[in-house]
Symmetry: C2
Subunit: 383 residues, 2 copies
Amino acid sequence: MRILILGADGYLGWPTAMHFAAQGHEVIAVDNYLRRLIAQQTSSEPLFETPNLDDRAKLFKAEHGKSIDVEIGDLADLRWCDNLFAKHKPDVVVHYAEQPSAPYSMRGLDEAEMTMKNNLGVTFNVIWGMLNHCPDAHLVKLGTMGEYGTPNIDIEEGWIDVEHKGRSQKFLYPRQAGSLYHTTKVLDTDLLWFYVRLYGLRVTDLMQGPVYGLETAEAEANECLMPNFHYDDIFGTVVNRFLVQAIAGVPLTVYGKGGQTRGYLNLKDTLNCVDLASNNAADKGELRIFNQFTEQFSVNELADRVHAAGKRVGLDVKVKSIPNPRKELEDHYYNAKSTGLLELGLKPNFMTEDVLVRMLETIMSHKDRIDESKILPRVKWNG
Amino acid sequence: MRILILGADGYLGWPTAMHFAAQGHEVIAVDNYLRRLIAQQTSSEPLFETPNLDDRAKLFKAEHGKSIDVEIGDLADLRWCDNLFAKHKPDVVVHYAEQPSAPYSMRGLDEAEMTMKNNLGVTFNVIWGMLNHCPDAHLVKLGTMGEYGTPNIDIEEGWIDVEHKGRSQKFLYPRQAGSLYHTTKVLDTDLLWFYVRLYGLRVTDLMQGPVYGLETAEAEANECLMPNFHYDDIFGTVVNRFLVQAIAGVPLTVYGKGGQTRGYLNLKDTLNCVDLASNNAADKGELRIFNQFTEQFSVNELADRVHAAGKRVGLDVKVKSIPNPRKELEDHYYNAKSTGLLELGLKPNFMTEDVLVRMLETIMSHKDRIDESKILPRVKWNG
């Protein structure tokens, strides 16, 4: 297959590009380094530096003997995006190309505007790139479990049958998200569903939970092939942040009561899920939605697990509740379904103590790079 | 009250500006004439020319002795919009400032892009104008009944309690619209609901059905104060189009089977509804939704009514089904609730034969301006 990876410089994008290239697919890695720019602007650099895509593609070729094409440009630019699709006419498009930070989107007007324009704009341009140049291709779009928020009923897999006054209708599951970033993904899904209905696009929308992890099969050969790894409050996901805090000797920053429950998954399972979706295309005119996570935890449960893993490597991990910078329920019902990807064959990599210990060991080797000023929340939702 | 009317040059905007000014409110009429530009670009000029806002404000002052301030500029320009809110700090914002044509939004990529950027961009900028300069003001936003589409269950008034596996949750009523224009209004509602929840804005979202009519109390004094009146396939609403077709001797253009059912209202009732909403503000942190229409009709029923009214003025009105340029159900369940505005005191102006006859007589006096080439659909959804 010819696969466009949009947002290929990201935490998930680069491992995905390597994963498909290693299997012999023709991979085109696309990015404009927007996340690198924002990371510098917000003083949120990752734990270790990662080479640019051209250099990583060369390293990957040297290690694995396979090529990854690189295209650097702005997918929010309609003309550039159209040219990209016209040139490559992909079979599969994996779309990670969004500003991915909830705190950044809540920082102020400029950041909110950028998040709206970039995320909606890229999705719109990608839709039209496909309509105009590869209408039969399959779009694998990264959504987020955060689209659903924390409703008081079970979270189904994308769709829900509503019974009402003796009649029934299948609807997109109603969504209400907790940040502007998550809201742009709600809008993406609405927009995709419109174009799927109207023009018969094939789309899989992967509602993904927070990802943790550092390792993928292709990165083991060379540390320079590892994904960028954020531990800061802007780009860091919670498990990754907690592990770095454990090593830095900073108490784990539980926001408020810590009862916030979400579905989590290992980075390796992101690759497996995107692979399964890509190899089992949605039908024409189908918006297929999977909830992409393997285990549900509360923040307190995550802190307990990191505490226990830390103990095994001789760390005395403290946990400290701090005022919640976000506006969210801290104690709520949460029961989300996630059977679709299992039915396609997913074999989950669970969050065992061994997995956490191994991550701690890897992070330990970069301990000197940890900057404690990047750890505490710098963006308040009510700021 | 100090009231900003955004999109004040439009079919509904200008009558609304006059309505509030006549009551002694301080009215600021805002527009950038985008609809006029699109009308020229698509050869869709209205039945009669309307003076620009400055000239109409002068005429209105001469006839009624009241002032309307005019601000000409682009609300999709963040800086201009911010300055507008900083300068006027309104109590009420009536937001009509969107590209309002479904066919235009479906014409091609350029038109789709403009509709997305303008409609979402203006709503985003208006939200931030309010957050930064008048957070207690009340936003009266024009949505559309088209957001709901044609679900197989009753359409409730904005919200629905979903019972699911023994638990329940109140959600925004799930919406799936039939054009990109209507979809931008779905996205608007999602975005408004996010900012209402997060920052306590007051918002009323009026889900309005297609409007018909020419007359309002303030326009009777001078024909130059009448709203722009479109009968073309791009901007014309169905009843207005049918009445012009009746006079032009063109068979009424029923799309497909004609069983498409929607809720309709008289232009006078748009003014009454917006007035009632403005004088009864939503609470802080409330997204209040009203379904704004007074009667449900199928397209075939509308054609019958125009036929009957035509007969009274000596017209032999023919009706002809033509291939449906849209992608929509032509025969479907439709039962939409609309009690909220009645409870606030709305006294509907129904679509009586007298009302249609009076419209026919007014249109008759402009018969020489009718251009038959603008009548048949020029945009196909599958084009």
